[in-house]
């Protein structure tokens, strides 16, 4: 159950046939107080890199891209109802969506934690 990261500050945790996706702690800090989250409908399919969700603070709006391709099997309604959760626990309870990957191998191209930490420090 390793966590991988994208250059767009999303994380992916592959757990058998399901990939859980969220935004990184670093991203949540940079955004500031999150005030709004928009998630896709369950059943929607995305290609890697597609706009998948939206996360907004008072002064910034960010698109969340699909880090890998797949179909949405579950969304985290709790963060839509209470966006502050994204600041509180971005890499845990405040996950965004769960995908059924159509090509799990795509995750291999993503960064591991150490590589991401180095990347985030420089960005």
């Amino acid at each position: 159950m390793t966590v991988k990261y994208t250059k767009d500050h999303e994380w992916v945790r592959l757990d058998g046939a399901v990939a859980t996706i969220g935004v990184s702690t670093h991203a949540a800090e940079q955004l500031g107080d999150v005030v709004f989250v928009e998630l896709p409908a369950v059943g929607k399919t995305f290609k890697k890199g597609d706009d998948m969700a939206v996360v907004e603070s008072v002064k910034a709006a960010s698109d969340v891209y699909a880090p890998i391709s797949g179909e949405v099997v579950e969304i985290n309604q709790a963060i839509v109802d209470d966006p502050a959760k994204v600041n509180a626990d971005p890499q845990g309870a405040a996950w965004f969506v769960k995908l059924k990957p159509s090509n799990a191998a795509e995750a291999n191209e993503l960064m591991d934690e150490a590589a991401y930490m180095a990347f985030a420090d420089s960005h």
Partner: protein, 433 residues
């Protein structure tokens, strides 16, 4: 100052300007004193016939109403007139609070859940509603009623066609008999219908709202005479999804077409797709209630090319004029003046229907109705204007390319119209025909 800067001449500061382009010869007159400017501009103003100078029945999207003296005094206060968009809320609570009151007033009048802090005018608000319907429904076909103000229709068409979408314009509909529901298909993003419509018909949108909902299109209701909402059912009550229109009638003068104040109201669940600014309630660091601009992430300064609209400046001061006037009226005053408008229109229609050859086409109207004359209305309007009576808007002015409309005259009567004005219109029309 130049010494402190370290420059010899002011032109040194323009050093980046290509030499050939600096200090180009400009052929304009030299500065003038206040007296002389007043004289020049006064001469231009004197060539225009002011609405208040005599019998006046012109409407179609801009209306002559009585505005209390208090309104103009308030909007000329330095703190309102010479302030900026309230980006620093700590020192702009005055502007923010009246915007919050404006939003509340518009929501109440239109019967909607939320309203923004204003648009440029009714026509651009209408175009923005069509663009919003496109975002909400992800469809690209707009249906326009045949009784939507032609300027609103043209403005909407311009904006929608830029993005490659289709516009279906229904033919001129003087009697509110068109079948808008039949024009909705699976690609239709919205139906845009005006009430009271450009011919004056008060329309019941309830059935159309249900049809729209069933077919997945939004119903956009346009109100160009907001005074009507003191007397007739609101579009919100009838099920509209977006209500847009012109707020000029309350607090704002005719100004030859602008500045006016557009309004934009909708349902709460659609708010993220709306254009324009919102003012919201919050608290300050001491826990005191205050107001801020909010939901800004939809706007151009944050979303840039993904913004819901490019609108930046809106109509702040005109919204203030609206808010002050509306606050003086209250519901009681609004209902009263609205009925005075309706009575004036009824009396005017009765007077005109007594003129041989004139038929009143509009059955259910607020303060404006349409008559058919036995000949082209443009010439008649000119004749009456020469007699000092501004009789209304001739059809040819709004539909120059549609001959069927050329014998139509659209007549508006507000609380400013007196019985003597009505008689002047009737008798002059009788003579002119």
């Amino acid at each position: 100052m130049l010494a402190a800067i370290g420059a010899k001449t002011v032109d040194d500061l323009y050093g980046d300007v290509p030499k050939s382009a600096l200090n180009a010869k400009i052929d304009l007159p030299a500065h003038k004193g206040e007296l002389e400017v007043e004289r020049m501009m006064g001469a231009m103003a004197a060539k225009n016939r002011a609405a208040g100078a005599g019998p006046f029945f012109v409407g179609c999207g801009a209306y002559k109403h009585h505005v209390p003296a208090t309104v103009d005094h308030i909007i000329q206060r330095s703190e309102f007139l010479t302030s900026y968009t309230p980006y620093q809320p700590e020192i702009a609570q005055g502007t923010l609070q009246y915007l919050f009151e404006f939003q509340t007033q518009i929501a109440a009048l239109t019967g909607m859940e939320v309203a923004n802090a204003s648009m440029y005018d009714g026509s651009t608000a209408c175009a923005e509603a069509a663009l919003m319907a496109r975002r909400v429904t992800k469809r690209g076909r707009v249906v326009l009623s045949g009784a939507l103000h032609p300027h609103y229709a043209a403005t909407t068409r311009t904006n929608v066609e830029l993005l490659g979408d289709k516009v279906v314009q229904l033919p001129i509909d003087t009697g509110a008999t068109e079948d808008l529901a039949a024009a909705i298909d699976g690609e239709t993003s919205c139906v845009i219908v005006q009430t009271p419509d450009v011919f004056g018909n008060v329309r019941d949108l309830s059935a159309l709202a249900k049809e729209c909902q069933a077919k997945g299109a939004l119903l956009v209701a346009v109100v160009t005479e907001i005074m009507s909402l003191g007397a007739v059912k609101s579009p919100g009550e009838m099920g509209a999804d977006i209500v847009v229109g012109e707020g000029q009638s309350i607090g704002n003068g005719l100004n030859f077409g602008g500045p006016y104040v557009g309004f934009f109201a909708t349902r709460e669940k659609l708010i993220r797709q709306t254009p324009g600014r919102y003012c919201g309630m919050t608290v300050d660091a001491d826990g005191k209630r205050g107001f801020v601009l909010t939901l800004s992430t939809r706007e151009q300064h944050i979303r840039r090319d993904k913004a819901t609209s490019n609108i930046c400046t809106n109509s702040g001061l005109c919204a203030l004029a609206f808010t002050v006037h509306m606050t003086l009226l209250g519901e009681a005053g609004l209902r009263r003046v609205a009925m005075l408008n309706h009575e004036a229109a009824c009396k005017t229609a009765d007077a005109l229907s007594s003129v041989k050859g004139v038929s009143v086409l509009t059955k259910s109207y607020f303060n404006e109705f349409t008559v058919r004359l036995p000949k082209n209305a443009t010439g008649i309007v000119e004749k009456l204007a020469a007699e000092g009576v501004l009789a209304g808007v001739p059809g040819e002015r709004l539909w120059p390319h549609d001959k069927d409309a050329h014998d139509l005259l659209i007549v508006a009567a507000t609380e400013c119209v007196t019985d003597a004005d009505i008689e002047a219109l009737r008798s002059n029309l009788e003579r002119a025909l």
